[in-house]
């Protein structure tokens, strides 16, 4: 494994598969040095309601490999809400071709834009009662989304070209089920926006537990 062991604490557990075909990959990602939570920016005039805390940072884990091609695409509609002056969720993984809704649930204007190469867009400013605007992400990559009005609001959308992906919990734990047997590149997108890669092999009916 060529990934930095201090960043990724993962192990492979081989075990009886569930009802579905394929193996399971699970493990724990050591969430790296966090960027400090944005402090209250002290807007003047103040926001109508208090700014709510951002979600705890999490990591994205996804598996890339030819064997993944047999898995059906996950391109359903996904929502990123603007609620409590935060994007929720603040980090999201989607497969290419997914469309994301950006409903504004706050009582003030928000703006959603991104200058990322993955998808450059600007939804302009809109209010709660206006129709939520949508963006379809066709290209794999990382998209950073901001609100031009509230400089503390950030969101990261990781667009991957595989349906085998998940988001860790706040402790870094993850599990990907129903993984077709085969060779994979397992990639972890950390809160620091670094990506670490490791090569794994998944066998039929086995649980792969990743260890450091």
């Amino acid at each position: 494994m060529r990934c930095g062991s201090f960043l990724l604490l993962a192990w492979l557990i081989l075990g009886p598969s569930g009802l579905r075909a394929g193996g399971t990959v699970e493990g724990v990602v050591k969430l790296d040095a966090m960027k400090p939570q944005p402090v209250s920016p002290g807007y003047k005039p103040q926001t109508v309601k208090p700014i709510q805390r951002a979600e705890p940072p999490v990591a994205i884990v996804y598996l890339e490999g030819p064997a993944a091609a047999v898995v059906p695409r996950k391109t359903g509609s996904v929502r990123i809400r603007q609620s409590g002056y935060q994007f929720r969720p603040s980090i999201l993984v989607v497969q290419t071709g997914t469309t994301i809704d950006f409903p504004n649930e706050d009582d003030e204007f928000h703006n959603v834009f991104s200058y990322s190469k993955t998808r450059r867009f600007d939804l302009g400013r809109y209010r709660k009662d206006e129709t939520a605007k949508q963006v379809t992400f066709e290209k794999a990559g990382v998209g950073k989304i901001y609100c031009e009005i509230h400089q503390h609001m950030r969101c990261v959308v990781v667009v991957v070209d595989t349906p085998l992906f998940t988001t860790t919990d706040a402790q870094g734990r993850f599990r990907i089920k129903d993984v077709p047997p085969g060779e994979y590149s397992m990639k972890v997108f950390l809160p620091s926006e670094k990506t670490v890669t490791s090569e794994i092999t998944v066998r039929e009916g086995q649980m792969l537990q990743l260890k450091p």
């Binding site: 400090p36 991104s114 200058y115 990322s116 950073k144 901001y146 031009e148 400089q151």
Partner: protein, 566 residues
């Protein structure tokens, strides 16, 4: 050195010292006041520059602060968006800026696209290293605006002022924004208007004067730079020679704390004109002082002459008086104090002359020592009892001798005789009391005693006899004398009427001396017992036995001096 020379030297010295002191005070006052004026000029210039710069920078600073918080600019820089200049331009809207630049996180200038509002392409090469240095240091916060200056002939005034701020969102610096505006110095401060003050910015080794100073020389910047870097803190002002002229220079760092290359405002004040005026002032004071000196010397010469002549006269007169010439009179030249002094001197000299005449007369009519005692006032006019020795000496057979002589010859003979004997008396400190015809009365021990008066009187009498014998040996009229000597208490004092007094002694011993004189044989000295008691062994005497004398109830024992052994 004479009084006149000293007086003249003093006057000239005082005038010279006064002129020198005036010169010194004028010069130091002048230097201090011009230093204060220059300091004020420099201060006003820097103040004016700072306030104008502050005014011009306010807009740029506001824009920079606004953009530093722009989420769009942050996002565009973070993503390296190709339209970042467009984004920045939109955010700046219509702000009036000469140019602006965006840099990445490492301080490298992001090249502006064709036709953007960014402008100022010619400065990129100059700015690149400075921006890299700024970004290379400790991370700057959004408030850490960096102020700098750069020379550019493309802008009015030749200098562009720069504001740089990092573009940063919370913890992450994604790049920076640089805003440039031409540095305009439209007006001078009120205080420096009309002054020949040159002021400008020193950037690197370039000096860019914005007021005055067209031909300071090409190496001005390098020379100023060397000084400013060497002693900026310790010596804010100094003297600088530029292009053959001297200046007073003052430097102030305009962007303290900035990571941009340091920019100093350097003000220069030409000293040549100031120095020329100072030299002119010194020359004038020196000329006035010189004229004053000449006038003082002239007046001093005349005055010293007028003062010293009477003083000189006085000195000469005093010397004459010292020599005994009391008849000296000095010329009264003025009616002032010196004239009064001359009068006083003349009166004093006349007084002395008169006194001297009195003394001479007194000495002629009485004995010299009595005259001296009388003059000194030690003689008691009421009389006193003294132990005295009295000599009477007369010429034997004088009546017979003088009978056939004409009076003039008698007087001449007597004078010769008396003079010779008087000299002997004086030699023995005796006092000639009086001449009575051919008789001399001589006192010892009055008016004052010299000790052993009786012995001295005896020796005097003996020598008088010897002197007469010597005279007789050569004289065609030999005279025989006889001497009587008696000692004892007698009343001494000035006696006579209220208008005429004689100093003399009276008493029984005086009478005895006169009687003994009549008893003495030719060329004999007859003395009484009292005198004999006082004589030393060198006197050889013989007793004459008791003599019956007129006026004395009892016979008196007398002695004759036989010889005196030398």
């Amino acid at each position: 050195m004479t009084f006149r020379t000293r007086l003249l030297a003093s006057i000239v010295g005082v005038v010279t010292a006064t002129t020198a002191a005036t010169l010194f005070i004028a010069q130091s006052q002048n230097a201090a006041s011009y230093q204060a004026v220059l300091d004020e000029l420099f201060r006003s210039e820097v103040e004016s520059f700072r306030s104008q710069q502050e005014q011009q920078l306010t807009a740029a600073k506001t824009e920079a602060a606004k953009l530093a918080e722009s989420v769009r600019l942050f996002a565009a820089l973070e993503e390296g968006d190709p339209e970042v200049y467009q984004t920045a331009g939109d955010e700046l809207r219509l702000a009036e800026l000469a140019f602006f630049r965006l840099t990445d996180a490492a301080g490298v200038i992001i090249p502006p696209p064709e036709g953007s509002r960014a402008g100022g392409a010619e400065l990129d090469a100059v700015l690149a290293p400075q921006l890299a240095k700024i970004a290379g240091g400790e991370p700057l916060s959004n408030e850490d605006l960096q102020i700098g200056f750069v020379a550019s002939p493309n802008y009015e005034g030749g200098v562009v002022s720069l504001v740089y701020c990092p573009i940063r969102n919370f913890d992450k610096t994604v790049g920076g924004l640089l805003i440039g505006q031409p540095l305009r110095r439209e007006k001078r401060a009120e205080a420096t208007k009309g002054a020949s003050l040159i002021s400008g910015l020193l950037l690197g080794e370039k000096y860019l004067p914005h007021f005055g100073g067209e031909d300071l020389g090409s190496d001005t910047g390098a020379m100023l730079r060397a000084h400013v870097e060497g002693g900026e803190a310790a010596m804010p002002t100094w003297e600088q020679e530029l292009g053959g002229r001297n200046y007073r220079a003052d430097s102030n760092l305009m962007n303290r704390g900035s990571r941009f290359a340091p920019a100093w405002i350097v003000s220069l004040y030409p000293l040549d004109d100031l120095r020329r005026r100072q030299r002119e002032l010194v020359r004038r004071i020196a000329v006035i002082g010189g004229i004053g000196l000449l006038a003082a010397a002239g007046v001093g010469f005349v005055f010293a002459g007028r003062l010293s002549k009477p003083v000189h006269d006085l000195v000469a007169g005093t010397a004459e008086v010292k020599r005994g010439n009391y008849d000296v009179q000095i010329e009264k030249r003025t009616d002032d104090e010196l004239g009064a002094l001359a009068d006083a001197f003349n009166e004093m000299a006349s007084g002395l002359a008169l006194k001297e005449r009195y003394r001479s007369v007194l000495q002629m009519v009485t004995d010299r020592s009595v005259a001296d005692e009388l003059m000194s006032g030690t003689v008691l006019l009421r009389g006193e009892m003294r132990d005295v020795s009295v000599i009477f000496c007369d010429i034997r057979g004088f009546t017979a001798i003088s009978q056939d002589m004409n009076p003039a010859d008698v007087v001449a003979m007597l004078n010769e005789h008396m003079s010779a004997l008087t000299q002997i008396v004086e030699k023995h400190q005796g006092v000639v009391d009086k001449f009575v015809g051919d008789c001399i009365m001589i006192l010892f021990g009055a008016p004052k005693s010299y000790g052993h008066d009786a012995a001295r009187a005896a020796r005097c009498a003996w020598e008088m006899i010897r002197e007469r014998e010597r005279m007789n040996a050569t004289s065609n009229r030999p005279l025989a004398i006889g001497i009587g000597l008696a000692s004892g208490p007698a009343l001494a004092g000035c006696m006579g009427s209220e208008k005429r007094l004689n100093y003399t002694v009276i008493g029984e011993r005086v009478n005895l001396a006169a009687r003994l004189c009549s008893q003495a044989g030719q060329m004999d000295v007859v003395i009484d017992e009292t005198t004999l008691a006082d004589l030393q062994p060198e006197f050889k005497t013989e007793s004459l036995g008791p003599l019956t004398l007129k006026g004395f109830a009892k016979p008196v024992v007398a002695h004759r001096i036989l010889k005196v052994v030398s």
